[in-house]
């Protein structure tokens, strides 16, 4: 049984996770969600209600682009692909996440 989303993602983290997932290669929405869930051992669950708007937003900003491809089911699927601009954005978000999490960790794990 899949539980409902246990923890809300911190703002901005979802974008970074999507970009990172797409850095491995073009993919469609379901696979992106699945990949994130599996990679985090289902610690992070992606809400479909926020995944797709996020994908459209990223597309609009030019960080990802979409094209029609074929899914595993042999059906027409909309595939998202990271653009050059998206790659730069990913690097920026990764760096900022590192700063953020180091900072948070320093506080939480201080003696």
């Amino acid at each position: 049984m899949l539980p409902k989303t246990p923890n809300a993602l911190l703002h901005g983290a979802l974008d970074a996770l999507i970009l990172k997932t797409l850095a491995r290669g073009p993919n469609h929405g379901y696979s992106i969600a699945k990949f994130i869930e599996e990679t985090t051992d289902e610690a992070v669950l992606i809400e479909e209600g926020s995944l797709y708007p996020a994908l459209y937003r990223l597309e609009r900003r030019g960080w990802v682009e979409a094209e029609w491809g074929t899914s595993e089911l042999g059906r027409r699927a909309k595939l998202y692909r990271l653009t050059d601009a998206g790659r730069q954005q990913l690097a920026a978000e990764t760096a900022s996440w590192r700063r953020f999490s180091t900072g948070v960790s320093k506080v939480l794990f201080s003696r």
Binding site: L2, H28, G29, Y30, A33, K34, E47, E48, G49, Y52, P53, Y56, R57, E59, R60, G62, E65, A66, E67, W68, S71, E72, L73, R75, R76, A77, K78, T83
Partner: protein
């Protein structure tokens, strides 16, 4: 592939895109859950439930998707534009001579048009620089025999007080005169002055920058008040604010400066001061003095027609009350703008607009021609692009971008050339053609005109070549020899050049007619034989010479003193000068003893007061009878000399000894002066382009002295201007108190030159533009020639190899170009014949169907076209057959 291509190559409706995407997600999730052992129905429900409210989600996605697509369209468009611009610039750089010629051509066309636009904008389009200019009108008196006359001050007052259509009516004198201002250092100077009635500035809505303007009290109290222009205030009084309220000594009396008017205010002509002329309590005889130019401000909502009807009623009443002066007189009203701009300027502006418009069309045709020629060269390039998948619209857009870039560059260069034309224009435009309210400047409106013209022009010359250039099948072009592909393009180019030649011929014909007009007005018989005569207006202002005797003595003294100046051959006096007559309506005359004639049927004559020495000074022959002499004194027999036009009106009777009764034309019932004709003088022109015989009587100055007179001086030899300083010095020796105003110093040649300046201006402008048109059209013809050579090079080679002479080949080469020129010329001449009468009102001494001009145009075209064609043709005809065959 650009990311933007996705939505265009795979365009499906946004709703379908979202549905498909979400459905796939649900299905895959369901499969996953079923694989984990859930039953399919529950699995699907669970998968769906994870979307939350699916309708809200879809709405959000649709919204985002729409925005995304819109932005993509814009960015795609911009990207393509950037690409097109890059290609365009590369293409233009690749053929610099083509680019340069095209830009120069456009710069000439757009520059000329922008300068003429500035003229038309300033004169015809822009409202007058007064408050609420729509309500300002000019008012004139109109009579049975007089189309339009100035207004008597008493009539103006009655119009104003009895009529109901106007807020205010005021007047001013139509000419600018001078006043002598005594300076603190004892030096007198002449200041230009215009008389105005008190309320003129209220009518026009002018606010002073210091002090006030005139009031009704100034008028009723008849105070001596003036306002001055900002410019005069700065140059003469260094902008001293204390000048308001000060008194100045003008023409010997004291005048109070009450205000200063803004620098850009103009009424009519340039003047330094405006002096108030009181109009209340004038004597009744002022009703016959037609001296004012009158403007009125209509009440809001009143039409000119209504105002005219209103004042017509007033005029009818006045005609009953004052039949002597007002019988048959009524009122004519026209917008002030129309009366200031005038018919002549309107026609001239329209003429220029037409001419430069045609020049611009020729420019367009030329550039279109260049583009068509290039299109044949670029056919392969375009075919390759098309084969690679670019649609026809896309290629047309690319080519249009190129022509727009070209036209915008041309427009920018045109702004520069237009600005340059406007900078030198004021020196070319004859004085008096433009109303004083008009200034020519290169401003934002002219710049906007350039930009819009450039865009339109770019479209005009770009669309057809672009469409034509893409009218092919790629396979055909790529698979064949490119030489065979150009037949239709060639026909179109031929038509364009025929149009150019026809237009150029039309302009040449117009230029020819205007030139013949100029020659006609310049080479007329002046009547007098003196080569160089200096003239100046001598105005003994004020009350220094109260009686005619003292005034006559003063004039005599000056005549004697100037006569002693070394180099002076002869000195005389005249009330007015040849070629410079105002149309005053003149005097009506009857021959004493002839049967009486109805007042309205009486002939009229111009009236000129002269000294006995006038005829010898101008070397104007007395054809019969005698000149004036000492006998014709004040109390002697009243005499006159008539001109040939007058004598001719007598139908063969000998005028000598006849007596004429002269009355001013405006007052038919006044007691006439009767004068005996003692001589007939040679005909002199009153205006250079007068059509009717100028009828004139000369009267000795001793018998009817004028308040101011022109001094005329003939030098013993050489140019008369050189005598100016010594003559001025001689006048000051007589006028020791410096009360005399000497102004309008010019030679009679200057006067003739000024009088013909409008014709000269028109002729020079149109000739220049027609020459430009001719050159441009010939450039087009040479283009056709080059094209024809390129088409036939192989032919020539073969023919030469088979023994054809250079001459044979030459004939072949020239044939195309000659056919184009001949067709264009025939069409152009036919158009000229049909449209010549459009400019009839500007012609003088030449018919709009003048055969000489037709011949002249044909010869000019034939000769210039021959020069343009034969050089390159000769060159082409001598191509070595061997070379021609090797290099197709």
């Amino acid at each position: 592939m650009k990311r933007s291509l996705r939505s265009w190559l795979w365009r499906i409706p946004i709703d379908q895109e979202i549905d498909e995407e979400l459905e796939l997600h649900v299905e895959m999730r369901t499969r996953e859950l079923v694989a984990r052992g859930m039953d399919p129905k529950t699995a699907r429900e669970l998968a769906l439930s994870r979307f939350g409210d699916i309708r809200t989600l879809k709405r959000t996605m649709t919204d985002l998707g729409r925005k995304r697509d819109r932005e993509m369209r814009v960015s795609r468009w911009l990207e393509e534009l950037a690409d097109d611009l890059k290609v365009a610039v590369r293409q233009l750089k690749a053929s610099p001579s083509f680019t340069l010629i095209a830009i120069l051509t456009l710069a000439l066309g757009i520059g000329a048009n922008s300068a003429i636009f500035a003229l038309v904008d300033a004169t015809l389009l822009r409202p007058l620089p007064y408050a609420d200019p729509d309500r300002l009108v000019s008012l004139w008196e109109k009579g049975d025999t007089i189309e339009r006359s100035y207004v008597s001050p008493l009539n103006m007052i009655d119009w104003s007080t009895r009529g109901h259509s106007f807020e205010k009516i005021a007047g001013f004198t139509p000419t600018v005169g001078g006043m002598v201002m005594a300076g603190a250092d004892g030096n007198a100077e002449t200041v230009s002055r215009q008389w105005v009635s008190a309320e003129i500035f209220d009518v026009l809505g002018v606010k002073p920058i210091a002090g006030r303007t005139f009031t009704a009290e100034d008028d009723t109290e008849r105070t001596n008040v003036i306002v001055m222009s900002e410019g005069f205030w700065h140059t003469r009084f260094n902008g001293d604010p204390g000048i308001v309220g000060r008194e100045l000594r003008l023409d010997g009396s004291l005048w109070t400066v009450v205000g200063i008017l803004p620098g850009d205010f103009r009424l009519l002509g340039q003047t330094s001061i405006w002096a108030m002329r009181p109009i209340t309590n004038l004597p009744p005889r002022a009703r016959g003095a037609y001296i004012l130019e009158v403007v009125g401000r209509l009440r809001p909502g009143i039409s000119i027609r209504a105002a005219e009807a209103d004042l017509a009623a007033v005029a009818t009443a006045l005609a009953h009350e004052y039949p002597q002066t007002n019988k048959g007189r009524t009122v004519a009203i026209q917008p002030m703008h129309d009366s200031l701009v005038g018919r002549d300027l309107r026609l001239t502006s329209m003429l220029f607009v037409g001419v430069v418009g045609f020049v611009l069309l020729i420019c367009c045709a030329n550039v279109a021609n260049l583009l068509l020629a290039r299109a044949t060269v670029r056919k392969r390039e375009l075919a390759v692009r098309s084969a690679l998948g670019a649609g026809r619209r896309r290629i047309v857009r690319q080519l249009l971008t190129e022509s727009l870039v070209l036209s915008l560059l041309g427009g920018a260069a045109g702004m520069i050339s237009g600005g340059a034309i406007l900078r030198i224009a004021p020196t070319l435009i004859p004085e008096g053609l433009l109303p004083a309210t008009v200034t020519l400047t290169f401003d934002a409106r002219v710049a906007a005109f350039c930009a819009v013209t450039a865009l339109l022009v770019g479209l005009i010359f770009g669309v057809v070549p672009a469409w034509k250039a893409t009218d092919f099948s790629a396979a055909e072009v790529l698979g064949s020899d490119s030489r065979t592909m150009t037949r239709t393009g060639g026909k179109l180019r031929g038509l364009l050049v025929i149009g150019e030649v026809a237009t150029a011929v039309l302009l040449l014909f117009g230029a020819g007619l205007l030139l013949r007009t100029l020659l006609a007005v310049d080479s007329f018989d002046r009547g007098f034989r003196a080569q160089s005569v200096l003239s100046m207006l001598v105005d003994p202002l004020g009350s220094k010479y109260p009686t005619p005797e003292s005034l006559q003595q003063f004039y005599d003294q000056i005549e004697a003193e100037v006569g002693t100046v070394p180099g002076v051959a002869s000195v005389g006096w005249a009330e007015s000068l040849p070629l410079d007559f105002f149309d005053t309506g003149g005097l009506s005359f009857e021959i004493v003893g002839d049967p009486p004639v109805e007042q309205s049927q009486r002939p009229t004559t111009e009236y000129q007061v002269v000294s006995p020495t006038y005829f010898s000074t101008l070397d104007l022959p007395i054809l019969s009878g005698r000149p004036f002499d000492k006998r014709d004194a004040r109390d002697g027999v009243q005499v006159c000399i008539v001109n040939e036009g007058f004598a001719r009106s007598l139908h063969g009777r000998n005028p000598i000894g006849l007596r004429v009764a002269l009355r001013s034309a405006g007052s038919p019932d006044e007691k006439p002066t009767v004068r005996e004709i003692v001589g007939v003088a040679r005909q002199v022109k009153g205006r250079p382009d007068e059509i009717k015989d100028f009828v004139q009587v000369y009267v000795p100055m001793a018998q009817d002295l004028a308040d101011d007179m022109f001094l005329v001086v003939r030098p013993q030899s050489g140019a008369a201007e050189a005598l100016t300083p010594s003559i001025r010095a001689a006048i000051s020796r007589v006028d020791t108190e410096q009360l005399v105003s000497v102004r309008n110093v010019m030679t009679l040649e200057d006067i003739a030159w000024t009088a013909t300046s409008r014709h000269r201006f028109r002729a020079v402008m149109v000739v220049a533009f027609a020459a430009l048109a001719l050159v441009l059209a010939l450039v087009g013809v040479v283009g056709i020639l080059a094209y024809s050579v390129q088409q036939h090079v192989r032919d020539f080679g073969v023919r030469r190899a088979l023994g054809a002479t250079t001459r044979d080949v030459l004939r072949l080469v020239v044939a195309d170009a000659a056919r184009v020129v001949a067709t264009g010329a025939a069409i152009g001449l036919a158009l000229s014949a049909a449209s010549g009468r459009l400019i009839q009102t500007m012609l003088f001494g030449v018919s709009p169907l003048d055969l000489g001009t037709f011949a002249l145009v044909t010869i000019v075209l034939a000769v210039t076209a021959a020069f343009a064609i034969l050089g390159p043709a000769w060159h082409a005809a001598r191509i070595d057959p061997a070379v021609a065959l090797r290099n197709p």
